[in-house]
Symmetry: C2
Subunit: 379 residues, 2 copies
């Protein structure tokens, strides 16, 4: 298989990728499994109905049509949004390493900001005046130190972080589509961000963000960055979810200390107790991240370039009904590791992966982080 | 040598100890060296003039007379102050382990508080309202958890820590004498402290504290405790000195996080960066200290009980003039380790220690922490 790091998709391939990721029951991990199995998105699309049927779907999942994908492309272009595919040169190299990397990102702005050293700043929406002031200052100083600042466009700390780094470059990872900016009053801020930075979404252009989209989006904020600075975060807040994702992704976690009497600092102080690096000035961040930026990125086993390699598909592993039934019997609503499934079933790994893919496309399987899967409970 | 952990000094011995520690050029370390060499305070007192002369003193240092010591004893008794000697059962066991342990402490109050598990709370004099509130709450909760709270009677955090633990027991280590409480407005507070706790001083009863007495006093605060909690401390503040002494004494250091925009939190946040344990509630302290309190105290090599053992004095090592001159030539205003002096001079350790003792009593040598000494510059 030829690895070509500077490959670009053709327009047709990009359309197929968009169709595939926009099809029902296809998430980032399924997308990857399908390309692994079929070698390209077009063949994967063709195989979807059969796979879903084998997985036990009563009705096949809805496949995004060519016309729909073309309409999204046209609308995106009109909105100044382009699609960058995993493996293409403009794709952020750290984001490419995460477990559930989005195969296509919809981006608007100065794309060069996507490939520069990046640090994330996140925090409370109901931040204190001091917190907002500190966030803006820290973002400005980190920007002046040569870093791009990533955040989530939320009210409070996020917006302050973007504002502080508008000139030097900032990336906003948003939970909805580009035509459905949330909160609405930040529409003007996104225009300012796009001047020297990027607004980034993995969602369809008109997608209105729902509650569950925000934790999903948080993995992009931490994924873009080598480290995440949390400024003011209550217990059980979204910022702590971002910090947890950062840890899972092997990112540095920084926390700004605050008064124990301020509930907005409970989350950040908890992070400090758990070993996060305290931050009171930009140098605390740059000192810790410099060696990380100086190290070449370690490509993971799931090295993204091969997605564009247009190589031969892997030998399609066709599971038998017995194998399928055996695995379904082993699965349940409790999370189980794919490794354990392989070991306990005694089946070849390729067969297990094929069955899981089928079940997922049938809407019967959920994938979680860390190689864990569970059966979707049927009521 | 017989070790008798529950030994008490006789009244005569206590008077000799008081005379010796109140004599010129005799600090805690010299006191120890003298007892080591002469076996008891009376013989050490008798040897002082000769030792100082050998050390090159133009005039012998002033020796505290028996009458003076008796007057201090009487005045102390009138003020409700008693003297506890190192090695006596009421002497705080952790304080007994420090390098420059005071041989006699003048104490007033409920002496049982001296031998209970202790934690120190120190912080800014110009503390914020939030800091004072937090200090008082933390002290109360630590007291309720069974700990004695030690602090330094200063305005701000110290006073709040004492107030919060008046009922459960608190120890104030003061820089002046018992009849010269500083700040004066805390005289009433010392009375309240003495109800269930202790006011402690190593200074003569009427000693008015000077600036240099406060860092010296800080070693007692940390020395009494298994850990020191710092609440609000600016850069280069006395609280940071206490934290540094705590580290040198092998104590745990805790710091309460605070806003990076508040200069009163610069010192505490710096401690966090250096690895201090963050504290936002009493459990953070008790959890960290519990295993330490459960461990039996490791007696150091300089085990204090032998001071009361009334054993034979060590073979007095009489340095020759050549040996004395050799060492003086090696010494200078730059700090040097006693170990290095022994190695470089090639002299027996007992001889080196004897010469240093003589020089110190002659007012020509200064001892620093960590076994370092330097010659006092002559103008």
């Amino acid at each position: 298989m030829t690895v070509c790091a500077s490959a670009h998709l053709t327009d047709d391939e990009r359309l197929d990728w968009l169709r595939l990721i926009r099809s029902q029951n296809v998430g980032p991990r399924t997308f990857r499994a399908l390309i692994d199995r079929y070698g390209n998105a077009r063949d994967a699309l063709a195989a979807l109905p059969q796979l879903a049927r084998r997985g036990g779907a009563s009705a096949p999942g809805r496949i995004c049509t060519r016309a729909e994908a073309e309409r999204e492309m046209v609308a995106a272009s009109a909105a100044g949004v382009t699609f960058v595919a995993l493996g293409e040169p403009d794709y952020p190299s750290r984001l490419a390493m995460i477990d559930d990397v989005p195969p296509l990102i919809a981006v608007r702005g100065e794309l060069a900001a996507l490939t520069r050293p990046t640090v994330a700043i996140v925090g409370a929406r109901n931040a204190s005046a001091a917190g907002i002031k500190f966030a803006e200052r820290l973002a400005r100083e980190l920007g002046e130190a040569g870093l791009v600042v990533a955040s989530g466009l939320a009210r409070g700390i996020d917006a302050a972080a973007h504002r502080g780094s508008l000139v030097t470059g900032t990336v906003a990872a948003i939970a909805g589509g580009h035509n459905s900016i949330y909160p609405p009053e930040h529409a003007a801020l996104t225009d300012a961000i796009a001047e020297n930075g990027v607004v980034l979404s993995e969602m369809p252009l008109d997608h209105e963000p729902r509650a569950r989209d925000f934790p999903r989006r948080n993995r992009l904020i931490s994924g873009l960055a080598a480290g995440v600075v949390v400024i003011e975060a209550a217990q059980r807040s979204g910022s702590l979810i971002t910090a947890r994702m950062a840890l899972e992704q092997g990112r540095e976690v920084f926390a700004v200390p605050g008064s124990p009497l301020d509930p907005r600092c409970e989350g950040t102080n908890k992070l400090l107790k758990e070993g996060a690096t305290p931050v009171t000035e930009a140098a605390d961040v740059t000192t810790a991240l410099r060696p990380i930026f100086e190290r070449p990125l370690q490509l993971s086993a799931q090295e993204p370039d091969h997605l564009l390699a247009r190589g031969e598909p892997k030998e399609p592993s066709e599971p038998t009904d017995d194998q399928r039934n055996c695995l379904v019997a082993l699965l349940g609503p409790t999370l189980v590791g794919i490794d354990d499934l392989i070991r306990i079933s005694g089946l070849p790994p390729a067969i297990v992966r094929s069955v899981l893919l089928e079940l997922e496309l049938a809407g019967r399987l959920e994938r979680h982080g860390g190689g864990l899967v569970s059966l979707v409970p049927t009521i």
